[in-house]
């Protein structure tokens, strides 16, 4: 008698599960899923605003994709990637160094709490505001602080136009990316290093390994899955780069569209040059790129629980 009763009870409780997940799924369906489907649909239609009137929507098949892919999109993917990598390389190097110092048993650095607070600070600040601040700091108008310092030091004789050159503009954007994210990466890598068995470091020390050897032979191999995770998630964040280059260049990607990112290009089709067909096609391509990268993250995450298996046998670890 007791068994059926309790089973009936558990069935009646389980229905509550739907009650609790309902708000999430209703809101997601309305505000994300329907828009996503609508975006996909738009990518197959000719639909744009020009000369004060809307043309379309007319079904055109894959024409928008052909147009987008034969246009400048690849160049903008290139810009995005270049700016991302200029920021990412120093970010991973500095973060690895800081993370290993903060967790070093022998160094015993003081005031690490203070340093962690300082290096993470830029991450919480509004990207639009940091960008506007950097624009003002480097600007040639009203002689910005950097130009002022350089002029006073005699390094230059007239204000340097940082935002008129591709290299300096890209470096400034990448620099802001670096500044905003190296603290975050440091803390993530610290968590990874602290997860490594301390006895490994102790025995390495007894065996007379120097810090460089310990770092390359113990730390790096053991946190490799997390390093890859950091790399791929940073890349996913990188392809979404918008706020900083948009504010720095006033949405123009100046000079000569060399700092135009993919999302800035998408934003142009959504705002100034309204073309919903092209915007749809760019969105779908962006979606595919993000999906491929995300699958990579899922793959890495799944293997994270079995790092030993992975070290022994790279492929087929899941079969074991």
């Amino acid at each position: 008698m007791a068994a059926p009763l309790s089973r009936r009870k558990s069935i009646s409780y389980s229905k509550w599960g739907y009650f609790f997940i309902a708000p999430f799924f209703i809101i997601y369906a309305i505000f994300s899923l329907i828009p996503l489907i609508d975006t996909f649909k738009n990518s197959f239609f000719e639909y744009y605003y020009s000369q004060l009137k809307w043309t379309g929507p007319n079904f055109v098949g894959f024409d928008n994709y052909k147009m987008v892919l034969s246009g400048d999109l690849m160049k903008y993917f290139g810009n995005t990637f270049i700016i991302w990598i200029i920021g990412f390389i120093p970010q991973i190097v500095v973060s690895l160094a800081l993370a290993s110092w903060f967790t070093d048993l022998r160094l015993k650095l003081k005031a690490t709490g203070f340093f962690k607070v300082v290096i993470y600070l830029p991450n919480v600040i509004m990207a639009a505001a940091i960008s506007m601040l950097f624009y003002s700091i480097f600007s040639e108008y009203a002689i910005g602080p950097i130009n002022s310092i350089l002029l006073n030091a005699g390094a230059i004789t007239e204000p340097y136009k940082f935002f008129s050159y591709t290299t300096s503009t890209r470096l400034i954007i990448a620099g802001i990316n670096f500044l905003m994210w190296y603290g975050n990466t440091t803390i993530m890598l610290m968590a990874a290093i602290m997860g490594v068995d301390t006895s490994l470091y102790e025995s390495a020390q007894i065996d007379g390994a120097n810090p460089t050897q310990t770092f390359w032979k113990i730390t790096i191999p053991l946190i490799r899955p997390i390093l890859l995770y950091v790399l791929v998630t940073s890349l996913i964040g990188g392809i979404q780069m918008f706020d900083i280059p948009s504010v720095i260049t006033n949405a123009k990607g100046a000079p000569n569209r060399t700092t135009m990112t993919v999302v800035m290009y998408l934003n142009n089709y959504l705002t100034t040059g309204k073309n919903y067909g092209m915007a749809g096609a760019v969105s779908v391509i962006l979606f595919i790129v993000a999906a491929v990268l995300s699958l990579l993250v899922f793959y890495l995450m799944r293997d994270k629980d079995a790092p030993k298996k992975k070290l022994k046998k790279k492929k087929g670890a899941n079969l074991l």
């Binding site: 609790f20 828009p35 975006t39 509004m126 601040l133 602080p145």
Partner: protein, 297 residues
């Protein structure tokens, strides 16, 4: 032998000291790099336009209150009136970030509770689905979102910036992980025996237990929404509804030759300061939160 040992130790100690000094030098350098832009911001927002134009100096000026007044109420400079709805922007940002935080944190826990506690048919499907959508960038559905919002007649309204935060996959995931580590199912069963209904159990028993997770996620959600620029800039075009990031981005299109730089720096500072204050007060929780998220997520 003994002398050799001592010498070896000394040598070790010297190397350690050199390494330590090197680390501190790098750390101090990074601290300077991280803080210098904000130092410039702080100094220049206290100087007058003329002082700023004369060149950079580490000495703060005396125009702090004047710049504050200009940033809020606007200023006529070279015949052009430059005024942004900064105060209104701040209010709008507070409304959006505040409500988004409340909704996002509460409903993420709500959803996580549904999946954590109950065994229903679609449980695994629902969980996998949320994990999959976690990585979809919000930009890819921006076009459809703008269309939807205009069809709903909600353009220039703050509602489409607040309501969608109910479905926050990353916050959900954090809550789910937290429940797995610190929400024993026995608590729920005890509440059932006491005759508490499921909804009330969640509100009066589970929510208090989740407080630490709420705190961490509340900070992150607030900061994210306070700083959010891309979607709001597509939805809002009326001045009185603009949030701070939109106003800040607009400063860029202003003509710098007709601009009071003190007013400009102060306006940027207004956008940054609230978050910096929150951060400095709660930095412990924030850094712990990042650590937790990275270990698990």
């Amino acid at each position: 032998m003994r002398t050799y040992d001592v010498a070896g130790q000394n040598n070790d100690k010297t190397i350690l000291t050199i390494r330590r000094v090197f680390c501190y030098v790098v750390l101090i350098l990074l601290t300077v790099i991280s803080l210098f832009p904000f130092l410039i911001l702080l100094i220049n927002s206290s100087r007058s336009h003329v002082e700023i134009q004369q060149g950079f100096s580490m000495i703060p000026g005396t125009q702090f209150l004047e710049n504050f007044k200009n940033a809020i109420f606007g200023k006529t400079y070279n015949g052009t009136r430059l005024q942004w709805n900064v105060f209104g922007g701040m209010l709008n940002s507070f409304i959006v970030a505040g409500f988004a935080t409340l909704l996002s944190v509460y409903f993420s826990a709500f959803t996580a509770y549904g999946i954590h506690v109950y065994d229903f048919k679609l449980k695994n499907v629902a969980f996998t689905f949320i994990l999959v959508i976690m990585m979809v960038p919000s930009q890819v559905s921006a076009l459809g979102f703008v269309n939807l919002v205009s069809k709903m007649g909600l353009k220039d309204s703050l509602i489409p910036l607040i309501l969608p935060t109910i479905a926050a996959p990353a916050t959900f995931y954090f809550m789910k992980q937290y429940m797995e580590s610190s929400l024993p199912i026995e608590i729920v069963e005890a509440a059932r025996i006491d005759g508490c209904n499921e909804f009330r159990t969640f509100n009066s028993i589970i929510v208090p237990i989740l407080k630490p997770a709420f705190a961490v996620q509340a900070i992150f959600t607030f900061v994210t929404n306070w700083n959010n620029y891309f979607i709001p800039s597509l939805i809002i075009s009326k001045d009185e509804k603009k949030t701070l990031p939109i106003l800040i981005a607009q400063l860029r299109s202003a003509d710098f030759t007709k601009f009071d730089m003190g007013q400009l720096y102060f306006t940027i500072m207004i956008a940054i300061v609230p978050v910096v204050i929150v951060y400095l007060c709660l930095s412990k929780f924030i850094i712990r939160g990042v650590t937790l998220g990275s270990v698990k997520g």
